[in-house]
């Protein structure tokens, strides 16, 4: 199985571009902005302003290219590493940072943004996307649902059940697997004995597509096709986007324990942003100044978001009791009262 590729590492089109130049510039800008966020978030974590953070550097094309193929009202169910995709679909930076600061309000995007809070559990969330899309179809809407997950997540039983339901009911679901080579320290090769993850789709009567995950145009093209099939009622698709995370698993992990420099170096040459820059450069559609400006404004935007997140009025100690049910039950109110009594002043 050869991965679909449209833009090679030198920025040359191997095939017709699925997007006009202006759109490609938009995706480039989005990837640059996303990477700026990734760097900023890592910096904030170092300063102790965020708890653990999961970097996605290297996976920008897989996330931005796929999310760009969605309609604004489509559902997205993604993970802790998919900030770029979630942001593309409308989940604000501020919410993403707020969550990382350990504030439940981070999981609450504005109305109209149909993106669930990032899934921290590995595997369980894919079937949620199946249910979301299925519900839309049952009530006659043509909204689709996309779910993002990693190579490691495909080992969980829930991946299997989600794929099987999607196949049996032909739900409008796009399964987007970012195979970034690792599940913490476990290499893709030792995660499963199947040659590719894309081929696992066969087991469910679902088409499987292999794509160069660092080629934003290829990722966009295959996702657009999968979204189209889903919207037309033709069922689900599994996409394996082959990529590599350039950072560690999270800011708490030391990738040096399991990944050699050579692997990293090889992937550096396949950077998802570089090749688009080369492509735009060739057609004079890129300038150093423009990219610097993108980074600068992104940094401001993100710093502002971080400050807003930090400036948010703190929860009262009783806040958690308000989130158990729509209306706190008597027994929950008793517990709140007990906490406030014990805390005395602090309440």
């Amino acid at each position: 199985m050869e991965p679909v590729r449209i833009l090679d590492v030198d920025g040359r089109l191997l095939d017709e571009s699925p997007l006009p130049a202006e759109e490609i510039r938009r995706l480039f800008a989005a990837m640059v902005t996303a990477r700026a966020f990734d760097h900023k978030a890592s910096a904030l974590q170092l300063q102790g302003r965020l708890a653990t953070y999961a970097q996605f550097e290297g996976q920008e094309a897989a996330q931005i290219g796929s999310a760009a193929a969605l309609r604004a009202d489509d559902w997205m169910v993604a993970t802790y590493r998919d900030a770029a995709a979630m942001w593309m679909q409308g989940f604000p930076w501020e919410n993403l940072l707020l969550g990382r600061m350990g504030d439940e309000r981070g999981g609450s995007p504005p109305q109209g943004v149909n993106v669930l809070p990032p899934s921290i559990t590995v595997g369980a969330h894919m079937i949620h996307a199946v249910g979301l899309g299925w519900a839309e179809r049952l009530r006659g809407s043509d909204r689709v649902a996309i779910t993002y997950f990693g190579d490691g997540a495909t080992s969980e039983g829930d991946f299997h059940e989600a794929m099987n339901f999607a196949g049996v009911y032909r739900t409008p679901t796009v399964f987007l697997c970012q195979n970034n080579g690792w599940a913490i320290s476990m290499s893709r090769e030792r995660q499963t004995a199947s040659e590719t993850i894309a081929q696992k789709a066969d087991a469910y009567g679902i088409p499987g597509v292999l794509v160069d995950g660092n080629d934003v145009l290829a990722v966009f093209a295959v996702t657009r096709d999968a979204v189209g099939r889903a919207r037309r009622g033709e069922g689900a698709t599994l996409i394996e986007a082959q990529t590599q995370r350039m950072g560690a698993h999270t800011t708490a992990d030391d990738a040096g324990r399991y990944r050699d420099e050579a692997t990293l170096a090889a992937w550096k040459l396949r950077d998802p942003i570089d090749r688009v820059r080369k492509y735009l450069q060739a057609s004079g559609a890129w300038s150093e100044a423009w990219e610097q400006e993108l980074i600068a404004s992104a940094s401001v935007e993100i710093e502002t978001a971080a400050n807003r997140a930090e400036g948010l009025a703190p929860f009262g100690p009783g806040a958690a009791f308000d989130r158990v049910f729509a209306r706190p039950s008597a027994h929950i109110e008793l517990q709140r009262a007990e906490l406030l009594r014990d805390l005395g002043g602090e309440a």
Binding site: W75, V77, E104, R105, G107, S108, P109, L116, P117, T121, A124, H125, I127, H128, A129, V130, G131, L132, G133, W134, A135, E136, L138, R139, A145, G157, D158, E161, A162, N164, F165, V168, A320, R323, V324, F325, A326, S329, A330, H331, I332, L334
Partner: protein
Amino acid sequence: MTVMNMANALNDALAVALADDERVVLLGEDIGRTGGVFRVTDGLQTRFGENRVIDTPVAESGIVGAAFGMAIAGLRPVAEIQFLGFSYPAYDQIVSHVGRIRNRSNHRFTAPLVIRIPFGGGIGAAEHHSESSEAMYAHTPGIKVVVPATPSAAKGLLLAAIEDPDPVIFLEPIRVYRAIKEEVPEGRFTIPIGVADIVRTGSDVSVIAYGATVRDALASADTLDADGVSVEVIDLRTLSPLDASTVVASAQKTGRVVAVSEGHRTAGIASELAAIVQEQALYSLLAPVQRVTGWDTVVPLKRTERHHIPGVARIVAAVRRTLED
């Protein structure tokens, strides 16, 4: 009013919900073509179609996870798990997702779904088919746990569960399905979740039960009445959130409490009742709260199952113990 057993009353409730609210969908293993292992959904697929009453593959985590997604999207799914012992593969979906999306999203996304599950023993069924692990779900935040004891309560509580804005695990006592018949109101009516029911008033001892054991509690009360012991019987109806005030008021009145639960003893529902009563009514207690429960053993198979499930003999013995002290 028609006389119905609990299985029919539940079928009636589901028919009412499906007819009144197009957001309601049923999904589960064998619920369509065969009407479910206990025939609770009998005839509903023929009447409402395969898009409203959905037969699923054998995958409990998938059933609950898909229903969860449907609920977030605005449907009102009622999932069925064939037996409580087969809800364990869906445990992560229930605990980590169904019970948490409201908290995780600070109310932005919610999952108003119902998971119907037959539970409890008494029919000599095969291994895993007689579980009474409701305490595990009562221990889980963000989920309501409801257990009807009679046909009409089953209908009213199930309709309330389907209307509830939060996820509800609805446990149906297997040995009651066809054992009790009573008049059940026609059409839509609901019974509030979170409110216990004083099914018999008494002055000497309070027996707190739920599900199938309510019948045994009432039978015990009759037996004891003959000896001049006046027993108050409370049907909890909801295990989470628990109606502590009704239980405590009764304990304060009688000073003697027997907590009945078919589930395992350690960290079970009877333990919770004992903890609450001693916490809020210690100085009214004339004797220790007695726990009459399933043991901390695997539920035995047919040949010795009767020794595991609390019946009249053990409830009566426990009541007498509270009077000895």
